[in-house]
Amino acid sequence: MAERLQILLKFLDRFDEEVQGRELSEPAEDAKIKLQRFARGTLSEEDQTEVFVLLDRNPEWTAWLAKEVKGLRQPS
């Protein structure tokens, strides 16, 4: 099921990239601060809802957030 969803998301992203010529844009500074707090799990429920909307409008920032979360992983 997970693999299927990955295929579908990549399929959709390919069109979005074609249409928008998407670049790996960095979030604005205030958004960065919110996303960093989101990554660390310190956002209130209300702020989380706001961040979901923000990320939904700027899907390219999701990659930035994912990188931020992965940066918090403990080295194994």
Partner: protein, 222 residues
């Protein structure tokens, strides 16, 4: 030799017009492709006609027309690729049939909705019909999810965050995250297939068909 490597040799022979390779390809794939088209809703005559045209297009023409196999990337199975091409052609053909309006029909009460639906269908004819359908149905299904689901699905399945990391970010329990993602995926499946039915009621796609067609489009074409 792996299946894909073996196939790429056979495809190379077909592209050059080798009659033995073309006959072998047809022998191997005719029956499975017929089965796939029938299961997707085509009737036997439509399916056999489509496949006859498909095999003809696999042969390079004397007028420098290349074999359709020139478009095959070799990154997926040949049968899967041929099934995608055949399904695309069938959907395209059915759309064209459904767009055909008998003279005078417009004046005799065709609703505005029907007219718009036909215009929408016509817009597909200029691009890859099947891919436009897959993309639009999938987009419509994702649009019905909330922003929360769209973002979390991307974080987990596209950027490979673990569910445990999502738990830490949101303060949810692991079972809540797991249930949320499963439900979101089920909703996407349900809404996508229902969109397909709404747009092309004669097309019978399973979820597996849908995903395979998307995957083949992504990796199978040059």
């Amino acid at each position: 030799m792996g299946q894909l490597a073996d196939e790429s040799l056979k495809v190379a022979r077909c592209r050059q017009g080798d009659p033995d390779a073309l006959a072998e390809l047809r022998e191997k794939c005719q029956s499975p492709l017929l089965g796939i088209l029938l299961s997707r809703g085509a009737d036997r005559t439509e399916a056999e006609d489509l496949l006859a045209d498909l095999w003809a297009d696999c042969v390079p023409g004397n007028d420098d027309r290349p074999s359709i196999l020139e478009k095959f990337s070799g990154k997926c199975t040949l049968q899967g690729w041929l099934a995608t091409v055949a399904t695309n052609r069938w959907v395209d053909r059915k759309r064209k049939q459904s767009r055909y309006v008998t003279p005078g029909q417009n004046e005799s009460g065709q609703s505005e909705h029907d007219y718009l639906a036909r215009l929408e269908a016509a817009s597909y004819a200029s691009e890859d019909t099947l891919i436009a359908l897959l993309r639009d149905c999938l987009k419509a299904a994702f649009a019905l999810c909330g922003p929360e689901a769209r973002v979390l699905l991307r974080l987990v399945y596209l950027y490979e965050l673990s569910q445990r990391e999502i738990v830490q970010m949101l303060g949810w329990s692991e079972s809540k995250v797991s249930r949320f993602l499963t439900k979101a995926m089920e909703e996407i499946e349900k809404h996508t297939l229902s969109e397909v039915k709404k747009r092309d009621p004669w097309l019978d796609l399973t979820w597996q068909d849908f995903v395979e067609l998307c995957e083949t489009h992504q990796i199978g074409f040059m």
